[in-house]
Structure formats: structure tokens, C-alpha cells
């Protein structure tokens, strides 16, 4: 066993670099040498010599400055800990983070999406964090069960939830008012929603510009609807896709009906929809608070508000994601640095109202219920819907199944308005293939 590892490593070192036939970008590579590092014992709060930590995340939008401000605030309170934040677009982050860890250049800690945690845990590029739960003050009763469970993979906890960003209904008050609708009572169920769209159509406005082009805007709306119709995306063991069952078909058929009825134009992209909204040409946007609260807030003269998604199916449900802190695996852990990381995590999870100004609402319920949060109008309205949020299951590789198979299939069905069941069944076959492959690949890890 030892010999074979050595041989492979020797061969790899000899060839020095590996690449995709010079067609794709050449990638330098040595065998990942992820050790069996364990976390050292950690004191409750850091008061040692000055340290400078590296923190990676994908906060490249309006959320970046908010996080930087919090880091500065933390350093004011803990002058011996400085944190350098490196933000890179999320897709790049998920490529570079594992690469950095395997080459021994890992940051101390990072932020990632809940649906990427299992993948990175299976890749062994992040550390189990059960031991530091007490130190950072994480308690089960402070979280919704779905959020609490979202960092647990193979009976170990790998991440600490910072926030939640449920898809919500953003509505243009002025447009509603012009159509004779009450801007203080956004529609909450299917009948009211369709009635509102009808009234809007009579006033010459297509009320729900439904994105069909960019995959993310398309897919998450479908996710929420599928759950609302009582469906699940995947089988319990994560090896088969089930989104082509009746709930999925109903969800997709309803989305198509928005376009067929003329309540949405055809061929809409996510940016079209928000551009129309900002110009009073669109009444409803489905999306997350991180994407929209600051974006819409910055438009002068726009009169908007936000509410939980209407119940279109048989139950209330909304797609949500969550940013979660992870501790990167190091070849060797430095007890001082780790203690400083833990001190910061404890601090920010307790002070997550500050983060709420970036849009997402705090994951910790006592913070969510605090008077400070109640003062943030939009965030508190989003918080009204958190009890119905749903997360993707904790299956390694699940994000790529969603984004590379399901979302494009939904997009196609909305562009072509073809048979929803056929579209979903094709996607199921493809997804099951990838799920099976992932199960084998990560099962070995």
C-alpha cells in the first residue's frame, strides 16, 4: 500500500505538471498530500501574540464591504488579530479553494454555501468542527432544524451557519397600486397571485418576468415550487433523482403557464427581470435577500417591499441557501492561529445582525428575533418566511447536479415551452447517472 502511493507520487513528481492536453488551461499538479492533521486544543479566547489570518470567500458584490467592515470592527475589539479577506467570485472560489488546500496554501478559514459543504468534506479539504462548537457558543436550540442539520455530514459537523437567504417575493408597490391592487397586501396564495397577475395584465404590465435564460434565476424558482407541490428532488440516499414525479411536473407546468398566459415575456434573463422591475415594468421578482435588498435599495425612487413567497402548491416552502464558515485543513495546525479563528467565529456568530445589512438574515434565531433586526424592514419581512425554508440535501456533488443538469433542463423547458414531463424525465436519467458516479467517487474518499 505504502509502496503504491510512493510510486504514484514519484511518477507525478517526475512529470511535475499535469494538464488537459494543452486544450484547456494547463494546471500544475502534484498528488494531493492531505495529511491526517487534527485540530489542536483550543483556548476559549485568543490573547496570544499578534496573528494575521487569511479568510477566503465569494463575497464580491455589495456583501463584501459589509464583511470587511465587520472584520475591522472585530480587530478594533481584538487588536492582536488581523484578518485579511480575499474575495473571489464563487465559481472561482470552489475551484481554487480545494487547490489551495491540497497545495498547502490554505487560508485559515472560509465561507461557503451550505450545498457545497458535503462536497468539500468528502474531498477532505475542510475540518470537522465538532470540538469547537462549545467554544464558539453554537447550540442546537438556537437554530431551525434544517439549518442546524445542514453542516452535518457522515455524523460529523463541518460548518457553522452564518445566515439564511430564502427566496422571497420582491414586489413593486407602485406597479401594484397602478393596477388597482393593495400595495400593503402582497398576494400570499395561488388564487391571489394569479388574480394580481391578471389585474396587472389589464393595466398593461406583465407582472412576473420569469427568467428562462440564466440557470440560477430559473432553477431556484422551480426548486421552491417543487417543494410547494410536496415533492423532493432526490431519493433519500442521494443516488437517484425524483424531480420528474408529479410535483415537479406541476411546478414546471405552472412556470410555463406564466409565459403562455402572457404574464411573463418570453426569453427573459435574470437581469432583464430586475431591470424591468426597477423601471416599473415588472411587479414581482422571486429571489434571495442577498441578491436584491441592497440592489433594489440603491435605486432612487423605486417603491418596493418584500414578503415570503406565495403558496402556489399545497404547502408553503421556499428554496434557501446559507453561508457557512468552514475551517480549512492545514498540513500542520498552529494553535495560536486556530484559537484566533475560533475567537473570530464566536464573535461574528454572536454579532450577526451587522451581517444582516448585507441582505441575508442571521441563522441564529435569538439574533433573528432581536429588536435590531426588527428595525431593518426588508430583512424582517424576509425573516417572516424562514420557518418554511428548504435546503438541498447533504450529498457530495449535489450542486453540480443542480446547476449542470436540472437548471439547464428547466431553462430549456421555459424557452421551448415543450412538454414538462418529458423535459424532466430526460434530466432525471442524466442526473441519476451523475449521482451514481458521484456516490462511487466520493464513497471511496
Amino acid at each position: 500500500m505504502e509502496t503504491s502511493t510512493f510510486t504514484r507520487r514519484a511518477v507525478l513528481r517526475a512529470i511535475g505538471a499535469a494538464g488537459l492536453a494543452g486544450v484547456a488551461a494547463a494546471v500544475t499538479g502534484c498528488a494531493p498530500t492531505i495529511g491526517t492533521a487534527a485540530l489542536p486544543r483550543i483556548p476559549a479566547a485568543y490573547d496570544g501574540p499578534p496573528v494575521r489570518l487569511k479568510f477566503w470567500n465569494g463575497l464580491t458584490g455589495g456583501d463584501g464591504p459589509v464583511m470587511r467592515e465587520l472584520l475591522a470592527e472585530f480587530t478594533r475589539e481584538h487588536p492582536n488579530v488581523r484578518i485579511d479577506m480575499y474575495a473571489l467570485p464563487w465559481p472561482d472560489f470552489y475551484q481554487k479553494f480545494p487547490a489551495a488546500v491540497t497545495s498547502g496554501l490554505a487560508p485559515d478559514f472560509a465561507l461557503m454555501h451550505n450545498f457545497q459543504v458535503a462536497t468539500n468534506a468528502a474531498r477532505k479539504v475542510i475540518m470537522p468542527v465538532d470540538e469547537i462548537l462549545q467554544t464558539v457558543g453554537l447550540r442546537e436550540e438556537d437554530y431551525l432544524p434544517v439549518v442546524w442539520g445542514s453542516g452535518v455530514y457522515r455524523d460529523q459537523r463541518w460548518s457553522l451557519p452564518l445566515d439564511m437567504w430564502p427566496d422571497s417575493l420582491f414586489y413593486n408597490r407602485r406597479v401594484l397600486e397602478r393596477a388597482g391592487l393593495d400595495p400593503d397586501a402582497p398576494p400570499a396564495d395561488r388564487a391571489a397571485y394569479e388574480h394580481a397577475l391578471d389585474a396587472l395584465a389589464s393595466s398593461g404590465v406583465r407582472g412576473h418576468w420569469l427568467p428562462a435564460v440564466d440557470p440560477q434565476g430559473v432553477g431556484r424558482g422551480f426548486d421552491s415550487l417543487l417543494w410547494q407541490f410536496g415533492g423532493e428532488h432526490y431519493s433519500g440516499d442521494g443516488r437517484a433523482a425524483t424531480f420528474a414525479e408529479q410535483p415537479g411536473v406541476d411546478a414546471l407546468a405552472w412556470q410555463q403557464s406564466l409565459i403562455r398566459t402572457g404574464w411573463s415575456p418570453r426569453d427573459v434573463s435574470g437581469s432583464d427581470a430586475s431591470m424591468a422591475f426597477k423601471n416599473d415594468q415588472n411587479a414581482f421578482l422571486w429571489g434571495g435577500p442577498g441578491a436584491f435588498i441592497n440592489d433594489l435599495g440603491s435605486v432612487e425612487g423605486l417603491d418596493w417591499d418584500v414578503a415570503p413567497l406565495p403558496r402556489i402548491g399545497t404547502e408553503q416552502a421556499a428554496f434557501s441557501g446559507s453561508h457557512q464558515f468552514v475551517v480549512a485543513r492545514q498540513p500542520r495546525f498552529d494553535a495560536d492561529r486556530l484559537a484566533a479563528v475560533v475567537t473570530f467565529l464566536g464573535w461574528i456568530l454572536a454579532n450577526s445582525t451587522g451581517w444582516a445589512s448585507a441582505g441575508p438574515v442571521p441563522a441564529r434565531l435569538p439574533v433573528l428575533d432581536s429588536p435590531e433586526l426588527a428595525q431593518m424592514t426588508a430583512q424582517s419581512h424576509v425573516a417572516g418566511g424562514v420557518e418554511h425554508i428548504r435546503f438541498y440535501p447533504l450529498v457530495p456533488g449535489i450542486a453540480e447536479v443542480q446547476t449542470s443538469i436540472l437548471y439547464p433542463a428547466i431553462g430549456d423547458a421555459l424557452l421551448s415551452l415543450g412538454d414538462p414531463r418529458a423535459a424532466l424525465e430526460t434530466a432525471t436519467t442524466q442526473a441519476s447517472f451523475l449521482l451514481q458516479e458521484n456516490a462511487e467517487k466520493y464513497g471511496r474518499a
Binding site: 499535469a18 486544450v23 484547456a24 494546471v27 494531493p32 480545494p98 415575456p265 449542470s404 430549456d412 474518499a445
Partner: protein, 324 residues
Amino acid sequence: MTAIAAIASRERRTGGAPAPRAGLYPTPRSPHRPRPWTPYVFLAPFVLIFGTFVLVPAVAGLWMSLHNWDFFLPDRPFVGLQNYVDLFTPDALVAQQFWESMRATGLFVVLSVPLLMAIPLGLALLLNQRFRGRTFFRAVFFAPYVLGVSVVGLLWQYLLNGNTGLINGYLAQLGVTEPVPWLTATPWVWVSLVGVTVWWTMGFNSVVYLAGLQNVDEALYDAAKVDGASRWQQFVHVTIPQLRPVILFVLTMTVLASANMFGQSYLLTGGNPSNETRTAIMLIADVGLEQFRMGLAAAMSYLLALLLIVVSALNFLFLRQKES
């Protein structure tokens, strides 16, 4: 023998420079005689760079393609030719995706290469005339080529967007009420991708043709005129044969560039609709660098590379045969 044939045959006979006469160059004496390894020392820097960035990755890629290779997993089982077999198994997902992307690539090549050969040639002929502002127009037509693909992509995204784009805006003012789905439905996606690519890269091919045209001996045209050739006959019998090596070069480069198309699809259509415009390179990048299924991606790269080698070789054979 016509005048033109006489000139051409004289050219062929004399070839290039006069043959060196014996005794023209002094025989190097022993202290100055290069040591046997001197050429290798001069070649070393290139070999080093070529080896590091082309040869080693190419061999490593072949090695990877024989494994189920995830960069970040410690275990990468050897699977032999399975990755290649998968690409030829009709009901496997990867095979469907791969051949669909090869079809998109092929379609793009077939649609774009003729235009990228013909339009720049016409342009070069025009720009080779003597007229006022010639340098200005040469610069104008070359200008788009200096833009990066991301700039081109963003620019045309604003212009071609179905609901908010400038082009549909103007079309609406002209009375076209139904917005044209430039980036979301066939055949419009191909019109957009090919159109944008032609606009973007025709300047480069024009400049290459122009350089070729300037090397054509004026005497050949004069001789053709003496023989009573029309403008069209001059073009067919003088310009085209004289440009043959240039045409071969432009054709090979254009086919390879079109077969490697990535940015335009990635930025403009995102592969829509139904992965119709997802090119092979886009799929390879997605499978290898985002899903980290690198063994499979390497296998796809090899098939694509093999195909391109065959196409390029056919190009050469075809055009060289015609020459002889």
C-alpha cells in the same frame, strides 16, 4: 506559351536566392568550430518551455485520461480505456453531451469558416486599392480584433438581448413587433454567434490576405492584361494561385480557431437553447475544471485534438495536391 506562363515558369526556374558558390564561405578553423552540443544548448530554452507547457501536460493528459481522475481526491483508480469507451456508448450521458457539443463545434466551423475566408478576402482586395483614407479604413476594419473576447461578449450582450437589447429596440421602431430571440432560439443563436465572430476576427484575416496581395508580382497582372484577361480572370488566374500558401495558412488557422470557440458561446448564449450552442471546449472546461472529472475531460480533449489534426492534415493534402 502565354506571357503569364512564361513569367511564372521563369520564377519557378530561378527559385529564390542564387545558389551559393563553392569557396564563398571560409571553412571554419578548429578553434571556432562549434562543439557538437552547441545546437542543443541553443535549443534548450525552447525545449524546456515546450516540454514544460506542452509535452509534459500532453503526456500527463493521456495518463489522466486512463484514470477516474479527480484532482482533489486521494484515490484515482485506473480505468483503462473506460473514459473513451463511455464517449462511444450511445446511451451514456457523457457521450450524448460530448457529441452534442462536437455537433455544435462542427456547425460553428461550417457556418463561420466560409464567411471568414471570403469576406476578409473581399475586404483585402478593396483595401489593396489606392484611394484616400486607405490607412484609416485598414485600421477601422482591424480594430475589433484588438478587443478581448469578454469585451466583445459584453458589448454584443447589450446589443442582442431579446427584451432589453438595442437591436430589438431599433427593430421595434421599424415596426418589428415580435422581439427576435437573438441569444435564445435557433437559428438566431447561430446568426448571432457567427455574425459576432466575423465582425470580431475578420480584420486579422484581412491583414494576412493584404500582406499576401502586396507580394503578388505586378508583372503577372500586366502580362494577364496583355493576354486580354478580364478583372475576374485576373482574380481567378493570378490572384488566387499566387495567394494559395496564404489561403492555406488562413484556412488552417481559421478552422482551428473556430473549432476552439469558447468565449462567444460562453458569454453570449451560455450554451442556450438546450445546449445547442455549447461547444466542445465549453463542455471540456465544465467537466474538467468545474466538475473536476479530469480523466473524462482529458479523454474528450484527446478526441477533439485527434479530429483537428485529421482536419488540418486534410487541409494541407487538399491544397497541396491542387498546387502540384
